[in-house]
């Protein structure tokens, strides 16, 4: 029997496979397809202080080996999430990570304070990288000082492990990683989506209602692996890697680059059982290779 358990700054997971925020809702739809307890955890849909109806459609555009989305954080608001989603999720037997997004540092602080005492929550993922909202979002995650400020506001309001979710839309990802580490982030997750655009040549207009969207899927995987590699070298903080993971082999690339855990995003949209397949595939791979513990693989690509 191989050991798939991982521990990131107090966040213990039975295996390193998570569902990435924004591609799994609050877990209910996927629970119709497989037992959520087979996964390490879920990073729930980006949650805001007040309910948000999101952007107008079209919100999705397909691209070569990927897709653009500009959903715009449609969610029922933190109060409703605590009342209706968390109690149900807490019974499913997997780690619960609540992704929070704000329009101001005070929003983040208020949500952290509200979520801190809620039973069942294992960590907060601070979304400072959503490219699809008017206020905050990406603007917070591309400025090292602002990113650090938000993390320290959240840090001050909760005892839960704080995960900083970084944007890849920056010149130097390690600068942001160092800043959020210094501000008290326990874990770093990356990458959020890359900004992109698709134009319909028949109409001569961008396909998405909001013109630009966030690119995800297999197309972004090499960028994400490269950034995990860089961040692993730059900081001590444990990493959750994500960006185009579809198979166990993809997940292993992230782990070997330095991620202790991985999250499955767009692949879920192409198969509700994608994350389950990755978790099972990892176990099979370890058995086949005679590796007793997944932690032995973390960062091995850095060894000379």
């Amino acid at each position: 029997m191989v050991d798939l358990t991982v521990e990131l700054a107090g966040l213990r997971l039975k295996n390193p496979v998570l569902l990435a925020s924004g591609t799994c809702g609050y877990g209910r739809e996927l629970s119709e397809y497989f037992d959520l307890a087979s996964l390490g955890g879920i990073m729930v849909k980006g949650t805001t202080l007040r309910p948000r109806s999101g952007n107008i459609t079209p919100r999705i555009a397909e691209t070569p080996a990927g897709l653009l989305n500009s959903v715009g954080l449609q969610n029922p608001g933190v109060k409703k999430v605590i009342e209706t989603e968390i109690p149900w999720l807490a019974k499913q037997g997997l780690g619960i990570i609540v992704n929070i997004a704000g329009e101001s540092p005070a929003d983040y602080a208020a949500m952290a304070e509200t979520l801190d005492p809620v039973a069942g929550i294992d960590a907060l993922e601070v979304n400072i990288s959503c490219p699809n909202v008017e206020a905050g979002g990406l603007a917070f995650g591309t400025d090292a000082k602002v990113a650090a400020d938000i993390i320290s506001w959240v840090r001050a309001k909760t005892k839960l492990p704080v995960i900083a979710k970084l944007s890849p839309n920056v010149t130097d990802i390690t600068e942001i990683a160092r800043a959020v580490e210094a501000a008290g982030a326990d874990i770093i997750s990356l990458i959020n989506t890359l900004q992109g655009m698709v134009i319909d040549v028949e109409t001569g207009k961008p396909v998405l209602s909001r013109m630009m969207g966030g690119l995800s899927g297999p197309a972004v995987k090499p960028v994400a692996v490269r950034m995990v590699w860089q961040v692993y070298k730059a900081v001590k903080t444990p990493i959750i890697g994500m960006g185009g993971i579809t198979t166990a082999a993809d997940a292993l690339e992230f782990i070997m680059a330095g991620a202790k855990a991985v999250a499955i995003g767009s692949a879920t949209l192409t198969n509700p059982c994608a994350a389950l397949n990755v978790a099972e595939g990892l176990a099979e791979w370890l058995v086949a290779k005679g590796v007793a513990n997944i932690n032995e693989l973390v960062g091995i690509a850095h060894r000379g």
Partner: protein, 265 residues
């Protein structure tokens, strides 16, 4: 547990008219579970290109043979790839998905309104309604004769069929909604079901609401996942208090009560 994405064998893939195709798949589980008005996500290739499935409504459900069929029009890259399939190929499928039509048991006569390829999900509905002994009338409209596909199967089931084309190349010159007005003037149906382009659905919904006839419509929207997690396909609905709310076409739909839909633009 529901079945995730699986691969299914193509039994038949034929061009009915330029741009219109019928695809028959061996998919016993889907055939067993599917209801009229539901759809499936189809991936024409086994590779990551194209990445997303294509939402296509179920056109035929054959439990005995363990087969499902789809009638579709080629509109882009995904459907063009589907059109290239041959018997024996394997494609990715996920489904059945969505809610499906509600069969009204007290209606003696029902009217189905189809616009163009919107006829596709109405065939299994017509079969189910005929099975319950109802009188079924199909009102089928399209821009021109070349876009009218699939109506013979309704006649074979014993449905009355009326046709309209905008250019008058077949049937009455005009719209499917003109046929609906004529039909309502002759005999009041217990229920209306419609699928087609948005302007047609909006007009059908208005006629049904004015006449006080229960009506269900099947909406189409660009989708990411097809099972409710990506929030890509939302539409606007009225909640129980008449307030505007968002509904996912893939999960709460694709079939909605006509008087609950809020039509923007």
């Amino acid at each position: 547990m529901k079945t995730g994405k699986v691969f299914a064998e193509v039994k038949e893939s034929i061009c009915l008219k330029p741009g219109f195709y019928r695809l028959v798949l061996k998919a016993s589980q889907m055939a067993k579970e599917a209801k009229p008005g539901q759809f499936a996500m189809l991936w024409p290739t086994k590779s990551q290109e194209p990445l997303l499935g294509r939402p296509i409504s179920l056109h035929g459900i054959d439990q005995k043979k363990g087969e499902v069929s789809f009638l579709y029009q080629t509109v882009g890259r995904g459907t063009a790839l589907l059109a290239n399939l041959e018997a024996g190929n394997e494609i990715g499928i996920l489904g059945p998905l969505g809610n499906g039509f509600t069969l009204q048991s007290n209606a003696k006569k029902v009217v189905l309104v189809a616009g163009g390829i919107g006829i596709a999900p109405l065939l299994p509905l017509a079969a189910a309604l005929k099975n319950e002994g109802k009188k079924v009338e199909l009102l089928f409209g399209a821009a021109k004769c070349d876009f009218l596909v699939g109506m013979d199967a309704f006649a074979d089931l014993g449905c009355a069929v009326a046709v309209a084309t905008v250019d008058g190349s077949l049937g009455q010159k005009g719209l499917a909604t003109d046929l609906l007005k004529d039909s309502l003037a002759k005999e009041r149906p217990g229920h209306i079901y419609a699928c087609g382009p948005k302007p047609m659905l909006k007009a059908v919904a208005e006629i049904a609401t004015e006449s006080g006839i229960p009506c269900q419509i099947s909406l189409e929207e660009r989708m990411g996942c097809g099972f409710g997690v990506c929030m890509g396909c939302v539409c606007h609905q009225k909640d129980e208090n008449g307030k505007e709310k968002l509904a996912r076409v893939c999960k709460e739909g694709p079939v909605f009560e006509a008087d609950e839909v809020i039509w923007h633009g």
